[in-house]
């Protein structure tokens, strides 16, 4: 069963046009939710960890938030270099693994 669902699958933005990506999860007793960025042909690059509902983390133009059912990744005034696939992953209780969503591919046009 899918534990992590990301939407939309793809997002095309104009430079400076802010938007949000969604990650909804069904696992109960979440131990942690992780956001990664993946560039073509590269491995996932760690961005944020969120552990509890209400938590927020920021890094440059990115801000991640967490509720009991979902997480949002907000991209404020994006630049072309923010173009990438953004992956959400959850760490279920008592597990070592990360369960990944399918990702949202963001393309930012100058």
């Amino acid at each position: 069963e899918d534990q992590v669902t990301q939407s939309p699958e793809a997002l095309r933005l104009q430079e400076g046009e802010s938007s949000s990506l969604n990650c909804s999860y069904t696992v109960s007793g979440l131990r942690g939710l992780f956001w990664y960025r993946q560039d073509p042909g590269k491995g996932p690059e760690f961005l944020f960890t969120l552990y509890s509902a209400g938590e927020e983390k920021e890094k440059e133009r990115l801000k991640a938030t967490l509720t009991k059912k979902e997480s949002f990744l907000h991209i404020t005034a994006p630049k072309p270099e923010d173009s990438a696939t953004y992956l959400c992953a959850v760490s279920p209780p008592n597990d070592y693994k990360l369960s990944f969503g399918a990702g949202t591919t963001v393309t930012v046009r100058a």
């Binding site: 960890t49 760490s91 070592y96 693994k97 990702g103």
Partner: protein, 113 residues
């Protein structure tokens, strides 16, 4: 900044052959993982390794797969008899502790002919 390194970046192998993928995790990390990503699909967990033993494995990780930490720095994934469906990008990751962020290498692209 410390990083996970993987070699080779691309491996081409005949079906039925054995292949070994190599990884050097971040030096102070204690937990090690292998994931794979078939083209166009999700990143999938294969196995985790801690304290010189497998701590968790997925259904994908059958008897054809094995992992080893042969020395203090390397972590390897062996596929004993490769199949066409093993073609994928294989990622190694490591973390400082349980539940801590996992840091990934840039992967080995495995192509089975």
């Amino acid at each position: 900044e410390p990083e996970v390194t993987q070699t080779p970046s691309h491996q081409v192998t005949q079906m039925g052959q054995e292949v070994i993928l190599r990884c050097v995790p971040i030096s102070n990390h204690l937990y090690f993982y292998w994931y794979r990503q078939i083209l166009g699909q999700k990143v999938e967990f294969l196995v985790s390794f801690y304290n010189n033993e497998i701590s968790e494995k997925s259904e994908i990780f059958d008897d054809q797969f094995s992992v080893e930490r042969p020395d203090g720095s390397n972590f390897t994934l062996k596929i004993r008899s490769t199949k066409l469906e093993d073609s994928a990008m294989y990622f190694c990751a490591s973390s400082e502790g349980w539940g801590q962020p996992q840091h990934f290498g840039d992967g080995t692209r495995l192509s089975i002919l």
